[in-house]
């Protein structure tokens, strides 16, 4: 019922899928620069350029009810410290790809990553197939 050709086909397709997946993971699909944008209470606070040559620093961000610390390590960003009670944003860890976002709701602070690449700027999120 399932011939040898079928098994070869299945293995071949799995290999091709793995190949494309690894290719995207290694090379990525974003050509342009990425930026981490820190917003407090809806207003932009600071914009940091990310990448292999990016900075390694910690930024103290004054928020309405305390202080948050954002850590930037070359091409990725995380919330290092937040004095909110739940700390969900700290537990979320590092983000590095355009479109990813860390939200600290109690302190009204958002870190998002954006790209100046034309291809990824138009975010596709809901298309009916």
């Amino acid at each position: 019922m399932i011939t040898r050709g079928d098994k070869t086909l299945i293995i071949f397709i799995l290999l091709v899928a793995l190949f494309i997946f690894v290719g995207f993971q290694v090379y990525g699909f974003t050509g342009g620069r990425t930026y981490a944008i820190i917003e407090v209470d809806g207003n932009p606070y600071q914009k940091v350029s990310l990448g292999e040559d990016g900075p390694q620093l910690k930024i103290n961000v004054p928020v309405p009810y305390g202080e948050n610390v954002v850590e930037i390590d070359r091409d990725k960003v995380r919330m290092f410290y937040a004095d909110c009670p739940d700390g969900d944003c700290v537990r979320q860890g590092w983000i590095s790809r355009p479109g990813q976002i860390i939200v600290c709701l109690p302190n009204r602070m958002v870190i998002k990553i954006e790209s100046d690449d034309k291809l990824t700027q138009k975010d596709v999120d809901a298309v009916s197939f």
């Binding site: 019922m1 399932i2 011939t3 050709g5 079928d6 086909l9 299945i10 397709i13 799995l14 091709v16 899928a17 793995l18 494309i20 997946f21 995207f24 699909f29 291809l119 990824t120 138009k122 596709v124 298309v127 009916s128 197939f129």
Partner: protein, 181 residues
Amino acid sequence: MKKPRKMIYLALLVTFGIVLHVIENMIPLPFPIPGAKLGLANIISLLVVVFYGIREGLIVSTLRCIIGALLVGSLSSLLYSLSGAILSTIVMALAYKYFKDIFSLVGISILGGVTHNIIQVTVASLVLSTFGLYVYLPFLMVIGLFTGFFTGLTAYFAKQNLSTTLIKINFVGEENINNET
């Protein structure tokens, strides 16, 4: 005497395809990937290709997509499903014609499912002009592999059953069903 019977049977198959298309739209999938679906209507396309050939297969899948989109879809979903269905029917027909010794119906169905997904991603990225959509391709290919496997099994059992029934009531000529496995 042969022609009206064939037309009636093709119309019946189109109806089955539409029903499967509608039911498929009601089933939620646990993947957050756009374009992933079961491809149940693929069973019908495959059966038509097996019993009648490429021309009838194209007619049935085109009609099924248009009427299915009128019932449950939108213009963009018609675009994706029509292009995918036509190309996957062509691929399945060619594979059945030339490689039926190598692949069983399961393999042909897998080919069809994976082709459907590749075409869908291509058309979607042309429409939205973002080639970033190709990131979904490996996941869609693996999903197409699994759904194609199971729709292929279904088509295999349906073919076994239908081929005896259909010859008995003279809906298909015996020349179309000669390679029993």
